[in-house]
Symmetry: C2
Subunit: 374 residues, 2 copies
């Protein structure tokens, strides 16, 4: 029996992933409705404001929901948001049993859906494939629990750990295949964080390239899809010295930009650019404060592309949840620039410790994903 | 038919590997004798001076060799060395057909065995699984063809490419599992190359630890093994300034050591220590000259364990055949020491290019093997 349950929940998790480019700031959720060992309904959440996974699955199942079991990757909501509460619809449908993978991590509502279902005589099980279901929404969980976004720090390095030559040149250490892979990560994130230094040196737009984001096929129900443009991530630039001016390439693409500064400047900025002032006692941007500020908005997932300076600071402050290294099979030598600027370490044991999590060939490069061992 | 042939040659290659710790300076060779689709004899070379693979296989097959096919990973010899020529024995045995993977790379004898077999009416095929068979004897092939040993350069680094802290501390960046893995590589090599700088800083013995080398089970024929001590690799220390004195730990283990110097010193050295003088015009050891000198001895495989300075020089001179990186999931920061000291690079395209060849988890570390792209 347990095996069957896992199979259905795995299917629900797979459905949840179908919304990975579009649900933010909402979590990805999948739902499977099973009757007499047959899937009679399936659904997933596609976009904030549209139907939740449960509602989509119930619509497909119709009267067959009566007496059936629902597998849901996250606790159904019991409040009126932009859509009516899913619990109400589940109860109305005659569902007999609800198997939930994870509770809603939002402390204000966690457990309330569960209670409502039980109160209405529905059998509820919780915890099946919990870790796996949490991984679908790493950012949502982190933000709900810690008030900060899930931070992925990306660096492109040589096998000897260099990000640039002594003269600053860094185009391109890694291959085009790796750079395309980065585009996919940008699509999965709500915002990209970088620094004025990086913008000044690379003059990049920091957007998802057209071929990746535009006219993308998104499955909206079994056998039915639409083509949409993925939203560009918000671009957040740390610019404590007001070095960024409207002349940079960044402003040749009209989508939201935040300039994180200590004080405003007198430039005339387009409407999509916002100057955000963070007070500081030491003339540098307080990164912890910045993360909490970002966490208060709708940003679950933050993608960091920067140089060795911000990378080192984030590592030192333990603000990184995943380190993503694109490693090119090249040696650039001791005189090239190192990848993490951190204060001098006096003992090996003081080094910042990680765990290898995933390793994959990306063209001629290697992509190494590490998680910190705090 | 081809599939059958491959299966037998693969078996012969597997047999060849059984001699990997003991045959040097001879190559590893395996032989399978097949009659009516049955293996009637198998053999491999165990040790210089003892029977060659073909002889061991013929002995096992006995009169069944008559009319049979022999699969041999390398061309059989046709000269009197420490043992009589294998060709003679193959002809005498009544073998009908000989399938050979690779020619003998020794230019003085390559092709002679082949000719002798053909002259005596034996059908000869050559080239089956050639690349795979050559890999068994990377060092032997390199030395025979280029006059230099096959060079494996090993470094233990952090994910940001650091080999030591600013204060020189490097014990231990990688885990005990990685260090044990290094012992296996030392066993597969004929010599270890290091520098006086490394000896002075680590005071290591540079030997295979007892638990690895001693009382090792070696299969000498099907179902029969002996227990022997693996030979310690020759230790070659580059010491252009005569900094090494008999006080170092290196001399607490009595096995061959070469000190590579520009002139002799006045110390009284034990018999197993040899000072080798390489002339130089610029007061540093000429590494190309050193490699040719090593290639003239019986050393097929050279294992390099050193710091960033020798590592960088070998990379710059393109003397490295395989780069073996043990990567610990740690960040040591920009102020720690880089892994390759090489002259400043002005364009990314000037970087030294490699190819990822093999990636493996070794405990909590990663072992990355790269080969140069010249």
């Amino acid at each position: 029996m347990k095996m069957y349950k896992k199979r259905y929940m795995n299917h629900a998790i797979k459905l949840a992933y179908l919304g990975k480019y579009t649900t933010s700031p909402n979590p990805n959720v999948g739902c499977v409705i099973v009757k007499n060992n047959n899937i009679v309904g399936e659904g997933w959440h596609i976009k904030a404001g549209s139907d939740h996974a449960e509602i989509n699955a119930l619509k497909m199942a119709g009267h067959k929901s009566n007496g059936a079991t629902a597998y849901i990757t996250m606790e159904p909501c019991n409040h009126y948001g932009r859509t009516p509460p899913c619990c109400k619809e589940l109860i109305k449908s005659g569902i007999k049993k609800v198997i939930i993978s994870t509770l809603d991590p939002n402390p204000r509502i966690s457990g309330k859906g569960l209670l409502e279902l039980k109160k209405n005589g529905i059998i509820v099980e919780i915890g099946l494939l919990k870790k796996k279901a949490e991984r679908i929404n790493k950012g949502f969980f982190k933000r709900m629990k810690k008030g900060m976004p899930f931070v992925q720090l990306k660096l492109a390095i040589s096998i000897d750990g260099k990000t640039a030559l002594a003269n600053g040149q860094s185009k391109w250490i890694t291959s085009i295949t790796s750079r395309n892979d980065v585009q996919k990560f940008r699509m999965l994130n709500d915002a990209i964080l970088s620094t004025s230094k990086t913008i000044i040196s690379d003059n990049s737009k920091l957007i998802i390239q057209k071929k990746f984001f535009s006219n993308r096929k998104i499955l909206i129900s079994t056998n039915k899809h639409i083509r949409i443009n993925i939203l560009q991530p918000l671009r957040i630039i740390i610019d404590s010295k007001n070095l960024i001016t409207p002349m940079y390439n960044l402003f040749n693409y009209k989508s939201k930009i935040w300039l994180i500064r200590l004080k405003k400047d007198n430039n005339i900025w387009p409407k999509y650019v916002k100057q955000i002032i963070l007070n500081s006692s030491n003339k540098i941007i307080d990164l912890v404060k910045l993360m909490y500020m970002i966490g208060k908005t709708n940003i679950n997932n933050l993608w960091v592309e920067s140089g060795a300076s911000l990378a080192g600071s984030l590592i030192k402050l333990k603000l990184v949840d995943e380190l993503i290294l694109y490693v090119a099979p090249k040696i650039l030598g001791d005189l090239s620039r190192s990848s993490f600027i951190i204060p001098k370490i006096k003992m090996i044991s003081e080094g910042y410790k990680f765990k290898f999590n995933d390793i994959k060939y990306i063209g001629s490069d290697l992509r190494i994903i590490l998680t910190p061992k705090h």
